[in-house]
Symmetry: D3
Amino acid sequence: MPSPHDPPASAVHDAVRRAFDEDLGPLGDLTAALLPPEAAVAAAVRARSDGVLAGGACATEAFRQIDAAVVVEWRLVDGDRLAPGDVVATITGRLASVLTAERTALNFLCHLSGVATLTARFVAAAGGANSSTRIWDTRKTLPGLRALEKAAVRAGGGVNHRGSLSDFVLVKDNHLAGVSIADAVARAKARWPGRTVEVECDRRQQVVEAIDAGATLVLCDNMTPAEVADCVALADGRVLIEVSGGVTLDTAADYAAAGADLISTSVITQSAPALDIGLDLEG
Amino acid sequence: MPSPHDPPASAVHDAVRRAFDEDLGPLGDLTAALLPPEAAVAAAVRARSDGVLAGGACATEAFRQIDAAVVVEWRLVDGDRLAPGDVVATITGRLASVLTAERTALNFLCHLSGVATLTARFVAAAGGANSSTRIWDTRKTLPGLRALEKAAVRAGGGVNHRGSLSDFVLVKDNHLAGVSIADAVARAKARWPGRTVEVECDRRQQVVEAIDAGATLVLCDNMTPAEVADCVALADGRVLIEVSGGVTLDTAADYAAAGADLISTSVITQSAPALDIGLDLEG
Amino acid sequence: MPSPHDPPASAVHDAVRRAFDEDLGPLGDLTAALLPPEAAVAAAVRARSDGVLAGGACATEAFRQIDAAVVVEWRLVDGDRLAPGDVVATITGRLASVLTAERTALNFLCHLSGVATLTARFVAAAGGANSSTRIWDTRKTLPGLRALEKAAVRAGGGVNHRGSLSDFVLVKDNHLAGVSIADAVARAKARWPGRTVEVECDRRQQVVEAIDAGATLVLCDNMTPAEVADCVALADGRVLIEVSGGVTLDTAADYAAAGADLISTSVITQSAPALDIGLDLEG
Amino acid sequence: MPSPHDPPASAVHDAVRRAFDEDLGPLGDLTAALLPPEAAVAAAVRARSDGVLAGGACATEAFRQIDAAVVVEWRLVDGDRLAPGDVVATITGRLASVLTAERTALNFLCHLSGVATLTARFVAAAGGANSSTRIWDTRKTLPGLRALEKAAVRAGGGVNHRGSLSDFVLVKDNHLAGVSIADAVARAKARWPGRTVEVECDRRQQVVEAIDAGATLVLCDNMTPAEVADCVALADGRVLIEVSGGVTLDTAADYAAAGADLISTSVITQSAPALDIGLDLEG
Amino acid sequence: MPSPHDPPASAVHDAVRRAFDEDLGPLGDLTAALLPPEAAVAAAVRARSDGVLAGGACATEAFRQIDAAVVVEWRLVDGDRLAPGDVVATITGRLASVLTAERTALNFLCHLSGVATLTARFVAAAGGANSSTRIWDTRKTLPGLRALEKAAVRAGGGVNHRGSLSDFVLVKDNHLAGVSIADAVARAKARWPGRTVEVECDRRQQVVEAIDAGATLVLCDNMTPAEVADCVALADGRVLIEVSGGVTLDTAADYAAAGADLISTSVITQSAPALDIGLDLEG
Amino acid sequence: MPSPHDPPASAVHDAVRRAFDEDLGPLGDLTAALLPPEAAVAAAVRARSDGVLAGGACATEAFRQIDAAVVVEWRLVDGDRLAPGDVVATITGRLASVLTAERTALNFLCHLSGVATLTARFVAAAGGANSSTRIWDTRKTLPGLRALEKAAVRAGGGVNHRGSLSDFVLVKDNHLAGVSIADAVARAKARWPGRTVEVECDRRQQVVEAIDAGATLVLCDNMTPAEVADCVALADGRVLIEVSGGVTLDTAADYAAAGADLISTSVITQSAPALDIGLDLEG
């Protein structure tokens, strides 16, 4: 059954296909071609460190694209916690097929689980799953992997900011050349009625203007926790407050304590180290 | 002029196109649509931390795909060192176009410069550009970005291991089920004459067998520097020695001192944090 | 079993894929993600007005691309008459999958059934299925939907004019700059031997020339029924007579009575209103 | 200069490419191949009825893809009013190229101008450009043409509802199986913080619930103008009121008078007749 | 200026792109990367045997896709005769670019000129350019190269049979299970009015039936020249006579003398040896 | 079970898809549409001349893409010898589907079996399967078919040279402008460590330089068998000796006798005549 964390199936299919287009070359897997074609194998995908799983649909698709007869059975699903040694999935099928698909399947699992894992650490730092402060991703994703990384953020307990420039309006300082916040928000609401309108603010006065203009969200950029707390008080529930700009695992708790609704960070998609997950042949 | 670090132009074109397919959506940039269409801007792409530049061709292509009239002039090129504040490129053109393309251009620059920067740190740790020990990448790249990441590794002073499974033969332990190293290498040389044949070895005896079998390269997997030095002595120039498995910036110097020809690491592609590079509007 | 009205399966696959590329975005269906993943549903696709069905293969493919476990059973097939309340198909499967695919499946059904329905009205106006005057489509189709719309025309009882510029020769007045009809037809027969050659004619004398030149078809452009009857008499079975240019449901019978072999109209593809077909959840 | 009504350039490029993939076939334009290759032509794209222009970027791209040396000069731009005889653009270039591209260019112009024209009629019916009631499109677009049709709606003075399922949340009755509106909205706001949440309502009580739950928008489905006026009063500015379901050119004014913020209609994209625009060779 | 022999530009673009997708790999041209990036070169594309040129548009596109700054100047064009030593084109540009594109450009030129050359030999064998017997190609083309090979046949003086299954009707014996030729032709004319209908005939009686049924073309399959002459007499200009099945350069003249309108052969596309064309660096 | 001769499945899929994109057109198979939709058939794919089979995976995929219900059972597999009359495979399914797919399936089988057959003749000429001289292909493949042709070469008993420019280094005379062989090889080994480096040599002295420089392979270009024997003696097992340039079936034995390790020829991919294989409907 598809998980609610899953990205669209077409995104999974295409990303896996591109990965094999890179990896197979015109001659295919030179090394696997040396193996006896009839040799079969059972294998386990196993976690080698602590973390959160993501990318399961991609790994399944990777084995399928190489050989539809390979069977992948998942013991754990996206969003589950991993400890070293945990068996994530079992794989059975032709040895040559399994070895040809292995690296591609793991490249997805390791990267996306890395994203989920770092997201989960930020979630924990901001007070955990029940905190009123949520971890938000950004558009700073690795090119071609946005849908997959956004799904991995969800698997890690985070939530998704804009999926694309076409989702909602985010007025940054560069958009305000010669235009007041009030005018910019009014134009946004006129041109794109009903849509979320967010305004990036560097200082208190801008937050006041954004709230008065009827923005949906205020992005507090590079503010201290105290400044954020002030903005939260100003907002008084009329807008959501996003904190952005250099928030770390160390400072997330302070911003949560300041009452921010959302802490956004590019680190979870752009700079998440790969999680160590491997494939072990059995017996 | 194309740089020797550049990936194939078709790879650049397609990766940028996919990034915009993710980012534009059916409505395009809602926020940029609010700007006066005729407004023009000059901007600078500026480094905000130390590192090595990569991804220039992708950034150029990003602005070009949004608006061919945007002019991008590079002050620095892939492979150049960056310090905070350095102007990497200047951008002039329509404000709406520049802001629509900004994030995509930076996503490439920040990720690929991150790869180049971490590669350069490993190169330095292994004795620098003139060391006889080189930093080698792996097939553990982010799906869809291999050609670009491999180019970024070159920009960082590293060298490229296999581009795909179709480049050369790499016999790992999983390929040896019931087959001796001698037989595996002989098969490889018979089926793929003239090609590089590398053998993954966990212990001294396997290295002896691989050399005797006529392998081109030996991958010393998870060995200590002392064990590697022993393998280097065994090899005596007849094969190249690759060290793989958990080499860090701290241990790279020891493996270089042990005489390894190549140190491979997945960290530089799979876990390189984004380099901080931004775009500042001028005046 | 595929119907003879079906477009090529690859055209169906690709058109549906493009529709989902437009509709899913990087985050997928935000609303369906709120549903319990295990909830299942039975639903009926039901006609809400009179018409002719087309687009069944596209609707099947739409549900399949979202979730291969959704079962679509057709009660009616392309070309069948519809009355308000008719159950066209039943759908069973995961609620989230059915709701995500619903709009796309219906967009195909409603548009293509609209094409078939309007075609059938023109067929009836020209004397019905057994009339010697047939309804012909044109190359004025909606971009990207030609194969599907041409199949819908067949479902509505019409026949297909050129599928592409590469099918046969159609000499229009713009092609005759400084060249006689005789010369143009001779060139066409020399360069593309065996192919259909049609000549657009505005007046009687051109029809004579086209027949004498050995054209296969004459397109009578913007002529009255009386003028057409004259051309039919001239043709005397040696060429087929196509009537084109502003024929309406009101005037089609007159042109049929004039003996035209073919009445072509762009209205059936370019301006057919969507047929009202909906999806109702059961129980 | 790109117009703010323009769809993303990549959407234009791909739609035109697909149109030619349909139209050229393996042999290209059989008829144009008969023309003298060196013959040149000047032509005018001319309106043949009243309406509003849209699709200019597609027409330009169509000529460019066939022959980059063809020059297209626009006298009017998307959003401009058209009267019969108005010259929309002039075209100069090789005769064979112009005739090969003609039909494809016009297919885009006629369909998209048809969308813009019908939109403009609805805008006028709802009180015109300065009315507080706006015309909203839907996801009932022709498959593969969404970005272009949404741009044509903007050219006609309308505004855009969701571009995709990934834009914002729209809870319809089918999404409410066993769940209260309050719960559904709460889930939506928790899972997709900051996003627009719209609720489809059939009756007054649901509107009350949706407002209380904190929805952004209420879709009044198949209500009379009087019922809508009641909902507008209930809303009192706290939510936007969308009217949907069978609104026609005749009834739009009544719904506008009732104070609806938005009138959505699928007719403008799904059932807009093509606008008559042709290409005339000069002298 | 595009030549009338040219395939559609999109077919050229895509075929060249696929060729580079095969040839560049993730690392690009390893050998060209060793060259000084600034080195420039002048080169000549030169025929090394007698033949007919085809594929010029593909070669131009190949250099362009690698480096738009490479200049290709054609001295000869598709359809021109070649003798050993003839300079076909001159190339100037970066050495690395020219060498990277060389093989792909030549692969197109050598194969397509091979097709044109063998076609020209068949044309000559059938009486030359002014013969009333023409050389016709088939659908037995190399997969993915149909548009290019059909254009090369035209360059060689041949003409094109069906471009696709969608062009016209060709009733072969396998299509006649339980159906008379008369019925099959009648169905074809009813379902696809105005289209060419060809009937494959093994013997005289079938030819009579096909002519009586109103076929456009008769394919005389594996008949002797005498049998063909009989069919030509039977046809008496009412249908065109195609000869098919094992016609060789040696027997073509006999079939031409028998009065066949068209001789079709798969050899010219499926089995044409590459023409020897090379690239020489100058001075 | 996939054969070790098989190309990557994605290459098979895409090549077949492209073939149908060429062959189906917007209207599909006009002739098959005339057949009774329910008619079924059994058919045999049968060799009509001696040769070696290749392309089985493509033929299977062709029938599958048209109609997944068609059953293809292989009696012989890629690499098997064929004699006239041999049944290669049996096909059962809908008559219309089988006839629509027939030509495309055969186009792959005939071309690729032609490649395998000619390769096998060269292998035999060079001493057979156990000869120490192997037949090597080249990059002179037909555009878009490289992976398939390289697999066919393997089926014919040959081996594969470079799959792409990204596999290994091959220094030709054009790469040596102003650079010694020693320097070129040194640069290659420095930039691409561990990779095969081959050097094209026209004369004995270059062979000495290449061996001294540590090349992996020497390409003896246009040398006589006696000159090759001299190079083999010089090489003394330190490098592999490739013979290239105009080797024919008549001269291959002499080069094998001279001790060449590899004989490369473009003829087997660029100029292999199609093998005659047909499809016969059964009783």
